[in-house]
């Protein structure tokens, strides 16, 4: 009966000319008002708060801040590079038929993911306590403290730690590639290494870039931990300045600014990489 009643208006009006009213999202309007009010409150608080923004502006391009920024950047890039190389090696080892390699890869990830990175940094920095001298006995030896500078300790600590995380990411990327791809590359006579380099890894990259970008962003900020073993990154150098002039928040804002700039640039780079490795996957869907 009801269906018949609803259909009946088709006889009274020209259905084709009925206007379709768009749904109203009252919840969104309320949310926008609340968020804007809160943002205004925060901005006003910082504007009238006791921050001397001119000091922040002054120290933004201070030589030691820029030097710290450069240190933060090269350290992040170097650690990430080490991490990715180790990550690929471990991911391949995990998939190897050789049980020894598998166990080594699993053990590596277990150790470096199982302890805090700050502790690993301290261990590397204090390596001289365990091994006073490094080298091959009879050929050459050097004093450990001369080799393990803060920068080297940071490189080893963060790089090896990153490798453990990157190995799991690379592994998931390689698992995401269909087994038929290995077989097709074998069938055209490729060796395992050729197939990895030309067929498997390029496809794994598509899956791997978003989490690796995440790792890289985390790593840039983790380099600030290395300040405890004396590595002069941007935060450490900002601290050194405010120990002298007591402009604490102003200099923390300087460091915050540079971290945000670097991470923003990286996000753009990540989008470019994603497009590059998404070739042949997204192109058809987007059209």
């Amino acid at each position: 009966m009801r269906g018949a009643a609803e259909l009946s208006f088709a006889e009274e009006v020209d259905v084709a000319r009925l206007r379709h009213v768009r749904p109203r999202h009252y919840g969104r309007i309320v949310a926008v008002i609340i968020i804007l009010a809160f943002a205004a409150f925060v901005i006003r608080a910082f504007a009238i708060g006791r921050i001397d923004w001119s000091t922040t502006r002054e120290f933004l391009t201070w030589p030691s801040i820029l030097m710290g920024l450069v240190n933060t950047l090269w350290m992040s890039v170097a650690c990430m590079a080490i991490g990715i190389v180790i990550g690929v090696l471990c991911a391949v080892a995990r998939g190897s038929p050789n049980p020894v390699l598998r166990v080594v890869a699993i053990g590596y990830a277990w150790f470096f993911r199982g302890t805090p990175v700050i502790l690993q940094l301290l261990i590397w920095f204090n390596l001289g306590l365990v091994f006073p001298y490094l080298g091959i006995p009879g050929l050459f030896t050097v004093r450990t403290v001369n080799v393990i500078t803060p920068a080297i300790a940071t490189l080893l600590g963060l790089g090896l730690n990153e490798g453990a995380y990157a190995s799991e990411i690379m592994r998931s990327g390689m698992l995401s590639v269909d087994h038929g791809q290995y077989e097709a590359s074998k069938a055209i006579g490729m060796s395992y290494l050729q197939s990895l380099r030309r067929i498997i890894l390029p496809q794994a990259m598509r899956v791997v870039v978003p989490p690796l970008g995440n790792e890289f962003i985390a790593l840039i900020k983790t380099t600030s931990l290395a300040s405890i073993i004396g590595f002069s990154d941007v935060l450490r150098n900002a601290q050194d300045i405010y120990y002298g002039n007591a402009k604490v928040i102003e200099l923390l804002m300087v460091a915050a600014f540079w971290y945000l700039v670097v991470v923003s640039i990286l996000s753009v780079g990540q989008a470019v990489l994603e497009r590059r490795f998404g070739r042949g996957f997204a192109s058809a869907a987007r059209r």
């Binding site: 791809q181 097709a184 069938a187 055209i188 006579g189 490729m190």
Partner: protein
């Protein structure tokens, strides 16, 4: 061993508790087209994969172009070859897969030139020229710059055939090349395969397309439970099968059609 292009003698393959192949003996002459039919799980795909060493055989021996594959004989023992040697032997065969397995991150043309450039170390310009000729042969030269996702199943399979041919194999293996295709796309792939057969290519085809097997093949092999049940000319096998199992299988397929 002999002048056969492929010579399998008492080939056996076991997956855990399952004996996938048992005493498979089969010769293929140069220029011959052999179709292998049989119920699923009969070992026909496994046998094909053994010919190009995607699977390692556990017993018996297999010769390709007169060369023992996968092993080196030392007295009474067969020692496995290195991966590199196996990769070299594998180059003599082209393989077309049920699910195409094109490289999705490469265009159709790049799929075809990948092997010649990377494996045969051809110059890119030379490989590209040959690839364009092959794409022409499978009727897809206008799709050279398309990515696999932009192609239909039938087109992808034709590109896959071109990719295999680019390695100039002496033997082409087809593993149910039309089973994953929509019915209306089967014809275009079979047309390409027919032309290839006419050109004198030696082919071993695992298929359920009895019409194709009857038209194109010189011999049809019926396999069941890992064994070759019978191997005859297509007319003999299909109209006067010797074995009851062959008759049952043919009847079940024809009923579906």
């Amino acid at each position: 061993m002999t002048s056969h292009l492929v010579s399998a003698v008492k080939v056996g393959k076991r997956f855990g508790a399952v004996q996938a192949l048992e005493d498979v003996t089969l010769d293929v002459e140069a220029g011959e087209v052999v179709c292998i039919i049989g119920p699923s799980g009969s070992g026909k795909t496994t046998f094909l994969r053994c010919i190009n060493q995607l699977e390692r055989i556990d017993s018996g021996a297999l010769w390709l172009n007169g060369e023992l594959t996968g092993y080196r004989r030392v007295g009474d023992a067969l020692h496995p070859l290195s991966e590199k040697e196996i990769a070299r032997q594998r180059r003599a065969t082209g393989m077309v897969f049920q699910r195409f397995n094109l490289f999705p991150h490469m265009t159709a043309l790049e799929n075809v030139t990948e092997g010649p450039i990377q494996v045969l170390k051809q110059k890119p310009a030379e490989a590209k020229e040959a690839a364009v000729a092959l794409l022409e042969r499978v009727g897809l030269v206008n799709k050279a710059s398309a990515y696999p996702t932009e192609l239909s199943g039938g087109q992808q399979q034709r590109i896959a055939i071109a990719r295999s041919l680019a390695m100039r194999p002496t033997l082409m293996l087809f593993d149910e090349p039309t089973s994953a295709l929509d019915p209306e796309l089967v014809g275009e792939v079979l047309t390409v395969m027919r032309a290839l057969a006419r050109s004198g290519m030696t082919m071993v085809v695992v298929t359920h397309e009895l019409g194709f097997a009857r038209d194109v093949s010189d011999r049809v092999v019926f396999m069941d439970e890992g064994r070759v049940v019978e191997c005859e000319s297509p007319d003999t096998l299909m109209s006067k099968p010797r074995e009851a199992r062959t008759r049952d299988f043919l009847r079940s397929i024809l009923q579906k059609a």
